[in-house]
């Protein structure tokens, strides 16, 4: 794994931890803990999405000329995950554990499938294509992820 995308890959694991904390808190009826855990997850995912959408993907698209390819699919999936986070937030506000669990379950699989495609396919493509720009892009990505 290239250093360029290593921080993003590592951040996937961090987001998994935050997801597990939020889901476990709701399943146990610990609503106060969940009210802390869900915004943490939301913030971490948002900074991850923005790191990709504002730094990695534009560099890849400009290097390859592919603006409607894999990065567009990833952006669409980010939108779907954002919508599910909103649904989870609504369920949390209403303390509706069943509704929260349904949205969380869906987010988890979407997120894991998305991460698998990024780690197995897109990140290696980015690492190859952007090898010459890694020294510039990598600190920017790390800085973006550190904000959560």
């Amino acid at each position: 794994m290239s250093a360029l995308t290593e921080s993003l890959r590592h951040h996937h694991g961090y987001c998994d931890d935050l997801f597990a904390a939020a889901e476990t808190a709701v399943a146990a009826g610990r609503w106060t803990a969940a009210q802390q855990a869900l915004p943490d997850l939301h913030a971490a995912l948002e900074s991850h999405f923005l790191g990709e959408e504002e730094i990695l993907f534009p560099a890849f698209e400009s290097a390859t000329g592919m603006e409607t390819g894999p990065t567009q699919v990833m952006r669409f999936e980010h939108e779907k995950m954002r919508a599910l986070l909103v649904q989870m937030g609504d369920a949390l506000a209403e303390q509706d554990a069943e509704q929260f669990a349904g949205a969380a379950e869906t987010l988890l699989i979407l997120m894991q499938q998305h991460n698998m495609k990024e780690e197995n396919i897109l990140y290696p493509m980015c690492a190859r294509t952007l090898a010459g720009q890694a020294a510039v892009l990598e600190p920017l990505l790390r800085e973006r992820l550190r904000r959560t």
């Binding site: 399943a27 699919v73 349904g102 988890l108 979407l110 499938q113 495609k117």
Partner: protein, 432 residues
């Protein structure tokens, strides 16, 4: 077809879904057959009813679910570009349904023409399916343990189908094949080379994903499919000459590999960070059954009074087919169908339109209820091998469990259809 990476989430929903929706009804047919035939069906693996029920499960339930899963899984997990999945599904799916039904009828009626028709149907449908999926698997530039396992599994399917076609056409044309030896080889490739390796390859990717567990150890994901393939090739070279002791050794080694995979999966699931659900209960049942197989096989070899009893092989067969594969497939369908449904609706709906979540597509309560029935059916089927009076109620319970699964999946498809129509009607209203 270019060897490009597929970044689309999945093929159109109806391509895998038609396979998933059909699968449970073959299980229901197997249960109905047992409830009609009674205890005699389980007296040996060679009774017409046992052969028909076995093939309703393996060439019906399991093959349907696994072909559907491959169409869905290959693009997502390996980036493989499956050529026209909707068209491939539309062509192969009806032929596979007809072939599995004909095969079960052939075993019950011993009619040569039915065996021949089933064999040609499988050759046509699996030939077409294998070329398309194989091409995607071998042309993708991606790498990894799941991809290697899927390639071996597809090779296993090819070997199983070829041996099955040889057997069926041999019976149809009354050729003098050594039927028992070739059948053992056919079963070994089917259960070990195709079903187990596919289950392992898919699990390597989805167990960490569905249950938030750590990844499987690399030595297992790299080693298990290759070891299983090596064992099957060694057995294929020896099967004609091997004596009973050597055959038992190969069988226990094969079950041992399955047990290793089961132990690793149970260990990972024990370290999961996600709350449990019905799908996890099914997967745990599958893995405990897989873990019990080598122990039971060893016990049957060690006990002289059981060694010659034909019911020992039937008991192992029930544990493998219903305990391992039906349980695992059932559990995975409860994740895959609601997720694909949600993805499909989300793709149709506008960004602000809400669509049902996975648990609104199939409720946790319905899944847990069916799990309890499945567990009761499995327990009674295992007991019925030794207590023939239980065969009819066991068959009935399995029929009910598969019907409930079929109902849950069909109801999910109904919810998807209703929402799709509503989304399209709303879009029409906005335009007019």
């Amino acid at each position: 077809m270019r060897p490009e990476l597929s970044f689309e989430q999945a093929p159109p929903l109806d391509a895998p879904l038609r396979f998933f929706l059909a699968a449970p009804w073959f299980g229901a047919a197997a249960g109905a057959l047992l409830s009609i035939s009674g205890g005699e069906a389980l007296a040996s693996r060679w009774t017409p009813a046992a052969l028909a029920a076995t093939h309703l499960l393996v060439a019906g339930f399991m093959l349907q679910a696994m072909c559907g899963a491959l169409l869905q899984f290959v693009p997502v997990a390996t980036g493989g570009n499956v050529w026209r999945p909707r068209w491939v599904a539309a062509c192969t799916h009806p032929v596979l349904i007809a072939s599995a039904s004909l095969l079960a009828a052939a075993f019950l009626s011993r009619h040569g023409a039915l065996f021949a028709a089933a064999a040609y149907g499988f050759a046509l449908a699996l030939g077409c399916f294998g070329v398309v999926v194989g091409s995607a698997l071998w042309r993708t530039p991606a790498r990894g343990a799941t991809l290697a396992a899927l390639r071996i599994a597809l090779t296993g399917l090819g070997a199983t189908a070829a041996l099955g076609i040889v057997l069926a056409t041999g019976i149809a044309h009354q050729a003098g094949w050594p039927v028992q030896a070739v059948t053992d080889l056919h079963a070994a490739w089917g259960l070990g080379g195709w079903a187990l390796i596919l289950l392992a390859g898919v699990s390597f990717a989805v167990v960490p994903m569905f249950y938030l567990t750590p990844a499987y150890p690399a030595w297992l994901t790299r080693g298990l499919p290759v070891l299983a393939l090596g064992l099957l090739l060694a057995w294929s070279a020896r099967f004609a000459a091997a004596d009973a002791a050597e055959a038992a050794l190969f069988q226990i080694a094969g079950f041992g590999l399955g047990g290793l995979f089961a132990a690793a999966t149970l260990r990972l699931q024990g370290r999961r960070r996600k709350s449990g659900d019905a799908s996890l209960l099914f997967m745990r049942t599958a893995m405990l059954s897989l873990l019990a197989l080598p122990a039971a096989a060893l016990l049957f070899v060690a006990l002289p009074e059981l060694r010659p009893d034909p019911r020992a092989a039937v008991w192992l067969g029930v544990l493998a087919l219903v305990g391992v594969f039906v349980s695992a497939i059932n559990g995975m369908l409860y994740k895959i169908v609601p997720f694909l449904g949600w993805l499909h609706l989300k793709g149709l709906a506008g960004p602000r339109e809400s669509v049902p979540t996975m648990r609104q597509i199939i409720s946790e309560r319905a899944m847990r209820g069916q799990f309890r029935l499945h567990l009761a059916a499995l327990s009674m089927l295992l007991a019925a091998v030794w207590l023939p009076a239980l065969a009819r109620p066991a068959g009935l319970l399995f029929l009910l469990s598969c019907t409930w699964l079929g109902w849950n999946l069909s109801a999910a498809a109904g919810i998807l259809r209703d929402f799709r129509n509503r989304i399209r009607a709303n879009a029409g209203d906005r335009r007019s």
